[in-house]
């Protein structure tokens, strides 16, 4: 049980670091794209408001939730390996 606990704890910490980095990066990319869009289209709203609304939209989007795959994919992979090695 100690070995399993170690795998879960270390895995969770490592994947959390990846998740946080990826989230920050993805948000930065979104922000840059929104700024570029504002420059190009010149909408009749201030630049800051445009970016803020865009980011709020992004916060509720499916694209952002897909980053949770960082946790899901390795877990599923381990499940598949366990099945193939021991029970297939």
């Amino acid at each position: 049980m100690i070995a399993l606990a170690r795998l879960v704890v270390v895995g969770f910490v490592v994947l959390s670091i990846v998740y946080i980095c990826l989230s920050l990066y993805s948000r930065a990319v979104r922000r840059r794209k929104l700024a570029a869009e504002w420059e190009e289209e010149q909408p009749p709203i201030p630049r800051d408001t445009f970016i803020r609304v865009g980011l709020e939209e992004y916060d509720g989007s499916l694209r952002r939730k897909l980053i949770l795959g960082v946790y899901v994919v390795p877990t599923v992979l381990i499940g598949v390996i366990i099945y193939l090695v021991n029970f297939a």
Binding site: A3, L4, R6, L7, I78, I81, I82, V85, N86, F87
Partner: protein, 214 residues
Amino acid sequence: MRIFRLIITVILWTLIAAFFHYTLPQKDIVRVTDTENRRIDFGENSIFWASPDVGSDGTRRDRDVFFIQTVQANGRPMVYRNEDTGWGWPPYFKFDTSNLQTEAADLKSTAADPQWALITHYGWRNEFYSIFPNAISITPWEGPDAAKPIPWVNIVILTLFAMVTYAIWVRWRRFRKARIDPAIEEIQDGWTAAGDAVESKRGRIRRWLGTWRR
């Protein structure tokens, strides 16, 4: 400097190759001659053994280990150990050691009436160090000359490794071109302006950095 760099590079890639050769699964066509269970006192070769059965007491320095004795298609012997890898390294998540031992015992055959089997394993056999590859699975196989399945797992893992390595390398090169090289040049320009005394030393750092350039 160039020789030194070459040696470091060769050692590094040899270690990486050895790591993959040890850890990735390989398949052998063998004939099981016997299976046994013997007590092992782990010594300096303890790193080449996996973990005790999941759930059992893992604190003792010695324990019983299953072995599968085989003869390969080329007639030479090969002995496999059969241990749980459990939740540890390498990530095979193997818990069915006792079942595998039963399957191996079921495939036992004699040279006169051979029953061939395909055994998946990782690890190395080394007589001087008393280490054995760890068997992962075993299935009956047509014969010693039958084709082995395509190693998809190895292809996928090595391709991913190559992609990640290349991606990091490209980014490092780009970073060095954009940030480090101009900084060095700036320093050297400063030196040039400082006068002729420094002139002779000009480019020394550049030349040294050049030895790291591919």
